[in-house]
Amino acid sequence: MTPDGYDRSVFINCPFDAEYQPILYAMVFAVHDCGFKARMALEVDDGGGVRIIKIKRIVRQCRYGIHDISRVQVDPASGLPRFNLPLELGLFLGAQEYGSREQRKKRSLVLDTERYRYQVFCSDLAGQDVRAHGNDPARAVAAVRAMLATALEGEAQVPGVAAILARYADFLAELPELCDMLHIDCGELQFVEFRSLIATWLARHPLGYVSPGPMPWDVYSPFDLPPFAYPARTPGARG
């Protein structure tokens, strides 16, 4: 049985560190601007239940996956690399290989900073669609857009990269005002809140909406946003 929204759900499996945030924000927006819904492990950071079970549930509910394996360096605190990203990529590929007929329709996009670097540390990925983003959010958006343009057996109609980036810049310009209206600091936004905000914003700004342009009080450039709040790791944060 196909989970509700399976064909339109995209599992984003990527780092959560502050340096990666601009790419993550941009990809979440691009997924929604293309008419899909972003799903992440951050949805389940509520402290209850077994995390891996919740992640497996999300993987099962998503037909498409975006996996960024660019963080292969060791954690300075522990001296060890983190393996959550390859683990979740493996879960996704396993579901695609051994799952039901619907699960075998899964499609993945693998991202790294450089195109062929994965051959050094994860050579078994050969044959997957691996693209480089060079730590550039615009290139990550272009890769996401390219994958979703061929989604749904070519039936998906998605905007061009320039249109997505222009709308993303408009959204980010409005974000501080939106947060003011919601009585929340931008740095307190959790992933689920950010995603809901994007979905609502896109509904009121359909493709073709003519933006009034930048305002004198706009403060954010697209790439200097504070990171998402992490309720499981930030004491006192809402969640």
């Binding site: 409005e174 209206m181 919601l182 689920v192 809901s196 700004h205």
Partner: protein, 87 residues
Amino acid sequence: MNATPWRTVLPVDETGRFTREQLEIAVNEVMERRRAYAASRPLVARERGPQWGAPLPPARPAAAAPEPEPYVRPRRGRGRRRPEAGR
């Protein structure tokens, strides 16, 4: 106690604390505020962004025009006659 009804776009556990109404009100209000501000500005300013239309720097006084020189009639050589005068 949160008395706001949970009528949400997404399931409650995915939307955080904001209701659909809260999000829509915020998005609409911000959109209207920006459109109203833009509409209050001249069309050209709207098209060219917020920096366009800033006060121009004070104009420098124009340099004084040079005094015109008097016209000097060219002198004709003494005893020369105009050729069309004939004999």
